[in-house]
């Protein structure tokens, strides 16, 4: 028989039987299963090595380039498991190699290659573009290799080589992956001609061993950590940068043939780079004059004019982001944005800044991070992911965000509060911190006056929004089709309660974003009063539905990130017939752990009862160690809200 046919038959035969793995692999599989009982595939080891070289960018400026080499070895812990390893890239970061190899079974080795235990099964990864949330187009892509493991103990290997055209784009390196890792090493081979800085974040609670050694022409810094679980995705979790250990890398300076070149040694250096890119944008403000004239010609005060310009940008420029290469960093010109009537935050910030300048006001383009980014101002590009305009007016700074529709002049969206604004001022910058406002300034106030009549409650309710709650209302409401708005207002006053029917609905002037939003109407509350014997029992469960999504699931690991600081302020007045009285009132309830506070009380005045509740979320992130306390609070709150009022005969 032909030896090749025989070999093929043997291969087919051997493939059909259960995997034969070495004893050591079998033993390792057992260990890993114990360690990571819920995982199908685990990385036994992962090593990432960064090396550096000198190159130049698109502007012919000298830069440090980075090569990242990653070797990962995987082991299957189930009878069958499909596993994909992903690697991201874009215009500035390329993947030069992404191969996949699989460890041969004992019997396979004899056929294929007796000495090499791994066989390369894919030399080229599949790729796909990533459509990011809210982005029309960007240059982000993902490459992936897929393993179809069949057998416990089967192993696979990937090798990835990535190149960064500029070390500026190597900002953060996380230890955790989308899969569990038994042992991970991150190594930086820092050449003598380069000075780098490695800032460590969230290392507390993890045993990350750091070593440093000097080799010829370079310094090697290694971080090693073991037994890393995979990244946990839980709803409303704080961002990765808040909770997972990582390193922020930067090149402070380097020496090439011509001499010393500054990298990101200081904030000024980062600013210089931002400013350089900003200046690539060739604005022609001739297009602005007729628009500005139209907007402000009939206005008298400076404040009205500023507002009009600010609101014009909010209302007339749609958010459509087109991020491709340097287009992700250089704003669109104002003439293009005006023509398109769309743009991203950079385009809007650029347009708004120039419009205010042309109108005679002192406005400046500004880089800023949003609250997903937990760092203060450090010399790295990872700090800033957003652009706004800063206006200096009457001795004060105003932070104007064109992307935040309906934010009134003088107020700031929650996501930039407390953040460092890097303000363009020619060759120098100015840094200001966006003020943080108290939860009391961002409220939904509900006031209801209800009367009991037989088995029904009816009366009038008013809901008032201010601060960011008002902004959120506008952003949602104004984007509804106009033929749905009335029913949306009705739903608002019915509180998602099927037993409530709202009529005669009125609102404040919803076209005026500077004032509080008020929605009011008459309500009838069916099935709210239970009549048993001579007694009536009435209840209104206004349990804040907004908090239900923050109820911790069983086994939750991460804390919560709230979408903002806010207050719910409820006051419900119930009037009963004069021949009746309130009895069995529940106790008042109070809670305050520094992150969230609550107070609830009942007060009787003749035949009226006033029920008040005040809930404030005072801090953005509830840490994981507060989860039990938080859960208890929510349970207690629900308990407090579960009281019926007894209305007895006198």
């Amino acid at each position: 028989m032909n030896i090749r046919i025989l070999a093929l038959c043997m291969l087919l035969y051997s493939s059909s039987i259960y995997a034969q793995i070495s004893k050591s692999d079998a033993s390792l599989a057992d260990d890993l299963k114990q360690q990571f009982p819920d995982e199908g595939v685990v990385s036994k080891s992962q090593k990432v090595v960064y090396t550096f070289d000198i190159g130049s960018n698109q502007f012919n400026q000298p830069v440090v380039t980075v090569q990242e080499n990653t070797e990962s070895e995987f082991m299957c812990l189930r009878q069958y498991a499909r596993f994909q390893q992903l690697e991201f890239y874009n215009s500035f970061v390329s993947i030069d190699k992404f191969t996949k190899s699989e460890k041969l079974e004992l019997s396979e080795r004899k056929i294929w290659n007796p000495t090499n235990s791994y066989r390369k099964t894919s030399k080229k990864a599949n790729t796909q573009s990533i459509v990011s949330d809210g982005i029309f187009y960007d240059d982000n892509h993902v490459a992936f290799q897929t393993f179809d493991f069949s057998g416990i103990g089967r192993k696979g290997l990937t090798e990835i080589d990535k190149s960064y055209t500029d070390s500026k784009y190597l900002t953060r390196i996380f230890f955790h992956e989308a899969f569990a890792v038994k042992e991970k090493t991150i190594e930086f081979d820092i050449p003598d001609w380069m000075e780098a800085d490695l800032m460590e974040y969230n290392f507390d609670g993890y045993k990350i061993e750091k070593t440093q050694e000097t080799a010829r022409d370079k310094k090697i810094i290694r971080f090693t950590v073991t037994n890393l679980p995979k990244i946990i995705t839980e709803p409303n979790s704080p961002g990765m940068a808040n909770i997972y250990p990582h390193i922020i890398f930067r090149v402070k300076n380097f020496t090439n043939k011509t001499g010393k070149v500054t990298g990101f040694d200081s904030i000024q250096d980062v600013y210089n780079w931002y400013n350089f890119l900003y200046r690539q944008c060739k604005n022609d403000d001739a297009v602005l004059k007729p628009i500005i004239n139209k907007i402000i010609s009939k206005l008298n005060t400076d404040e009205d004019k500023i507002k009009a310009i600010y609101y014009w940008v909010q209302d007339n420029i749609r958010y459509i982001a087109y991020e491709d290469g340097y287009a992700g960093f250089i704003p669109s010109t104002i003439q293009e944005t005006v023509k398109n009537k769309y743009g991203d935050c950079k385009a809007m910030a650029n347009l708004l800044t120039e419009m205010l300048k042309v109108a005679g006001y002192n406005a400046h383009y500004t880089w800023i991070g949003t609250n997903h980014i937990p760092y203060g101002r450090i010399p790295s590009m990872c700090v800033d992911n957003h652009c706004i305009s800063t206006l200096y007016y009457k001795g004060k700074e105003y932070f104007l965000d064109g992307t935040e529709n309906y934010v009134p002049f003088g107020e700031n969206a929650f996501r930039i509060q407390g953040k460092s604004a890097l303000i363009e001022k020619g060759d120098v910058y100015e840094e200001k911190i966006v003020p943080i406002t108290d939860a009391a300034l961002h409220t939904i106030k509900t006031k209801a006056a209800l009367t009991v009549s037989n088995d029904k409650l009816s009366g009038h309710v008013t809901v008032t929004f201010n601060g960011n709650m008002r902004k959120d209302f506008h952003q949602y409401f104004e984007m509804l089709p106009q033929n749905e708005k009335q029913s949306e207002l009705k739903d608002l006053l019915e509180f998602g309660n099927d037993n409530v029917e709202a009529t005669n609905i009125k609102t404040s002037n919803l076209n005026n974003r500077d004032i509080n939003v008020t929605v009011e109407g008459d309500i009838d509350f069916q099935n709210a009063v239970n009549i048993i014997g001579n007694e009536m029992y009435a209840g209104i469960d206004f349990f804040p539905k907004g908090l239900r999504k923050y109820y911790p699931e069983e086994n939750r690991k991460n804390g919560f990130e709230f979408r903002g600081l806010f207050t719910y302020d409820d006051e419900i007045e119930i009037t009963i017939p004069t021949d009746r009285q309130f009895t069995d009132l529940p106790n008042n309830f109070k809670f305050d752990n520094g992150f969230v506070s609550f107070s609830g009380s009942y007060q009787v005045n003749g035949n009226k009862l006033i029920f008040k509740k005040l809930l404030s979320v005072k801090k953005e992130i509830l840490p994981a160690d507060k989860l039990n306390e938080w859960k208890k609070f929510l349970d207690d709150l629900k308990e407090f809200n579960s009281y019926l009022i007894t209305i007895a005969k006198k």
């Binding site: 499909r82 994909q84 992903l86 991201f88 790729t127 796909q128 573009s129 990533i130 459509v131 990011s132 949330d133 982005i135 029309f136 187009y137 960007d138 982000n140 892509h141 993902v142 992936f144 989308a178 990244i231 995705t233 007339n316 749609r318 459509i320 982001a321 087109y322 991020e323 992700g328 023509k339 398109n340 009537k341 769309y342 950079k346 949003t370 992911n385 957003h386 992307t403 984007m479 509804l480 089709p481 106009q482 033929n483 749905e484 099927d498 037993n499 029917e501 069916q526 099935n527 239970n530 009549i531 048993i532 029992y537 209840g539 009895t583 069995d584 579960s642 009281y643 009022i645 007894t646």
Partner: protein
């Protein structure tokens, strides 16, 4: 610069293996080509194009479609090397006034096709002050998957073959509220209509059936003018209907082409309504196009060349159905190997003869036929469609000379009998011994009538010389065909506010199917097998070897089955409660797949949080909520514009046996007594206390399927009663 990358979710998406293309920016050459091909479309002198006014009644709408015009041209084109292609050109013109911000946002991104050089696309914006601007396509991006493309932008035939065409998306520059947006497009598809194997049957001709097209006149926005023009070259036949008040098609003929036109005007949006059989009530058109050169096959639902075929007489339908039925004998079905349908009749007949089943009375024989076929389909993976099922069944009845009728109707969610336009709308039934046979579900009983044909009109197809065509009415489903009976033994622990529930349920008809499909997965192992385990069916038990193999397989997978059933039961019970259900037990007591024991029965035990309120030391629990969410009709739903279709007459019954917790006495049970009973339906409940056991019996019945709008208030009465009942609280007072 704001980017969020959900790479974990991306990993999950990648696992699906969905076909995608990479995002790429459009090429300059493509832009030029698109413009060039679109150019002639702008010079259309249709009078409706110029009209930009909208009636005042639509000023509060989000947007108004001023013109929606589609023009299809079917033109056979001879190619080289004797290959024939049918060229289909589709021209579109769409014009919309964007009144509010939502409409601007929706139409900020447009989609267009560029699959070949014949495709064209162009966009203009008209400002309120009267100026017109061209929209640049320079920022267009190749769309990764066609799933995201809204219907407005898809070509007629691309709707069926989304993945085959290459689409782009483009942000629309300069768009504002009050603008009018207009786009034109032309796409050309070529279908190969060279006769191959088709010629064996059709004798050198070729036939191509396009997908049936259904279009409702109402759109998400009001429509000023909606136009459809179909030009065909005499080889493409149109069969069409205008239903429920939609305008008719017209035809104009010349030597080479027939031109069919349809126009609808001044059409409002339709508001959402429950219980609506849309195909029966909403104005719509449907049509089907068939290419057939040199031949007019008798089975096709087409008329003569150049004929506007908007009606098929019963005799025509029956004749075509007879040809289709006869053709079916050429089909093959099977699992590993496909065999012709006649083979299966023979094969089963032989098995029957071997087991003396052929000697049984007709009624028993029929049962064997049905359940054997059901077993083959669902336990042995013998794939077949309804018509093939009917065909094999008829062959088996022929063997024993049992009389039967072959009936055709149409699913009532698709069409009425008189408005059938294509073979795809036909639904086949076999009637024998007063039973209607239809393709069985995995647990369906022989006597079950599906809602989509119960009560329909049907045509009996005559096959023998002395038989006559007849129009008959299929029996309506009855209330007793579909029921759910549940008994819940409930205890309540005030300390933890939880119910502990032991539940048994018995289900028939649609409820049997629902529970089976949700919870009984994996139960269909050999011990609860697909063929009836009754003494009649025992004659057809598999041989020992097969049973042994089945048993081995079952034992191997038993743990998986049990785990899966438990998960399924948890999901099933969870669907009734907003809070988390913890299931301790879930088992199927009777699969309900056999004619002698048609009820599916199961038992489950679980705990769930109770909705409990307090008043001082008194406790209130929403015990009635244990019957599950009840329909609540909003104010706007209390009057009807259209007749209602509740799909099935049915009955739901519950008995709640509630043990009053120690240390408490119960009050408020008198509030749980309800009686509403009328010709449309009923809701009754009675609550009785015996010692510390409160028993509540609840019944909800939908007596009729079709409810005229004039009688809607009767449904409202009993539905309201059920909802009010479900909101009641009972009081537990400490002793």
């Amino acid at each position: 610069m704001q980017k969020k990358i959900f790479f974990i979710l991306l990993a999950a998406a990648l696992f699906t293996g969905h076909i995608t293309r990479a995002q790429e920016v459009i090429d300059e050459d493509v832009i030029d080509n698109l413009a060039e091909k679109a150019e002639p479309l702008w010079s259309d002198n249709d009078a409706n194009i110029k009209d930009n006014t909208i009636p005042a009644k639509w000023n509060d709408e989000s947007a108004v479609i001023l013109l929606m015009k589609r023009h299809l041209i079917f033109d056979r084109e001879e190619k080289l090397l004797s290959r024939k292609k049918l060229e289909i050109t589709e021209k579109r013109r769409f014009k919309i006034k964007l009144i509010d911000a939502n409409a601007v946002k929706t139409f900020s991104t447009l989609f267009f096709r560029y699959t070949n050089k014949n495709d064209g696309f162009g966009v203009k914006i008209y400002k309120p002050e009267g100026t017109a601007e061209d929209v640049s396509l320079a920022k267009a991006i190749n769309v990764e998957t066609n799933d995201e493309i809204p219907e407005f932008f898809l070509g007629f035939f691309d709707k069926q073959h989304r993945d085959k065409s290459n689409y782009y998306k483009v942000p629309v520059a300069g768009l504002q509220q009050g603008d009018i947006l207009e786009f034109v497009s032309v796409i050309i598809n070529n279908i190969d209509v060279t006769p191959f194997s088709a010629s064996i049957f059709y004798g050198g001709s070729s036939v191509y059936n396009f997908e049936d097209q259904y279009e409702y006149c109402n759109k998400p926005y009001p429509v000023q003018v909606n136009k459809l023009i179909i030009e065909s070259d005499k080889n493409t036949y149109l069969s069409c209907r205008s239903l429920n008040g939609a305008p008719d098609f017209n035809i104009k003929q010349d030597k080479d082409f027939d031109v069919y036109t349809w126009k609808d005007e001044n059409r409002d949006r339709v508001k959402d309504v429950n219980f609506l059989n849309e195909r029966q009530v909403l104005p719509m058109i449907k049509f089907t196009l068939t290419y057939a050169s040199n031949f007019n096959p008798k089975n096709l639902f087409i008329g003569e060349a150049g004929q506007l075929k908007n009606e098929f007489k019963p005799e025509e339908i029956v004749e075509k159905a007879r040809v289709i039925f006869s053709k079916t004998k050429e089909s093959s079905v099977g699992y590993y190997i496909a065999h012709p349908l006649k083979y299966w009749s023979e094969y089963i007949w032989k098995a029957f003869k071997k087991n003396d089943i052929d000697e049984l009375p007709d009624a028993d024989y029929l049962r064997y036929c049905y359940y054997s076929l059901r077993y083959m389909i669902h336990n042995k993976g013998t794939t077949m469609n309804n018509l093939e099922f009917i065909f094999i069944l008829s062959g088996l009845l022929d063997k024993k000379k049992i009389p039967y009728d072959i009936l055709i109707t149409s699913p009532n969610t698709v069409s009425t009998l008189k408005d059938i336009i294509s073979e795809k709308e036909l639904l086949w039934l076999l009637k024998a011994n007063n039973t209607y046979f239809y393709y069985p579900g995995p647990n369906t009983q022989m006597q079950f009538k599906n809602y989509f044909y119960a009560g329909n009109q049907a045509l009996k197809i005559p096959f023998l010389k002395d038989q006559q065509m007849a129009l008959i009415k299929i029996d309506e489903a009855k209330v007793d065909d579909n029921y759910a009976k549940e008994e819940l033994n409930v205890s309540f622990d005030p300390a933890v506010k939880k119910y502990t529930i032991s539940k048994t349920g018995a289900y028939q008809g649609i409820y049997n199917d629902q529970i089976y499909n949700t919870a009984a997965w994996g139960a269909n192992a050999f011990k609860l097998n697909g063929y009836c385990t009754s003494d009649v069916a025992e004659k057809l038990m598999p041989d020992e070897k097969t049973m042994s193999k089945d048993e081995d397989e079952y034992n191997e997978k038993k743990k998986d089955y049990e785990k899966k059933i438990k998960e399924n039961f948890e999901k099933l019970e969870q669907s009734n409660f907003p809070d988390t259900v913890k299931l301790t037990k879930g088992e199927i007591l009777q699969l309900g797949n056999c004619y002698k024991n048609p009820e599916l029965k199961y038992r489950s035990e679980f705990t769930v949080n109770a909705h409990m309120l307090k008043a001082g030391k008194k406790l209130f629990i929403n015990l009635p909520a244990l019957i599950g969410n009840q329909l609540q009709l909003k104010t706007e739903e209390r009057t009807r514009q259209y007749d209602a279709d509740v799909t099935n007459p049915r009955k739901l019954s519950w008995r709640i046996n509630f043990t009053v917790p120690a240390g408490y006495e119960v009050d408020g049970l008198q509030n749980l007594n309800f009686t509403v009973n009328n010709e449309i339906g009923s809701f009754t409940s009675t609550a009785v206390l015996n010692g510390n056991l409160a028993t509540i019996d609840i019944n909800k019945t939908y007596k009729e399927r079709n409810i005229p709008k004039e009688k809607w208030d009767k449904l409202v009465k009993f539905v309201d009663a059920a909802y009010t009942f479900s909101q009641k609280m009972i009081l537990l007072r400490p002793k």
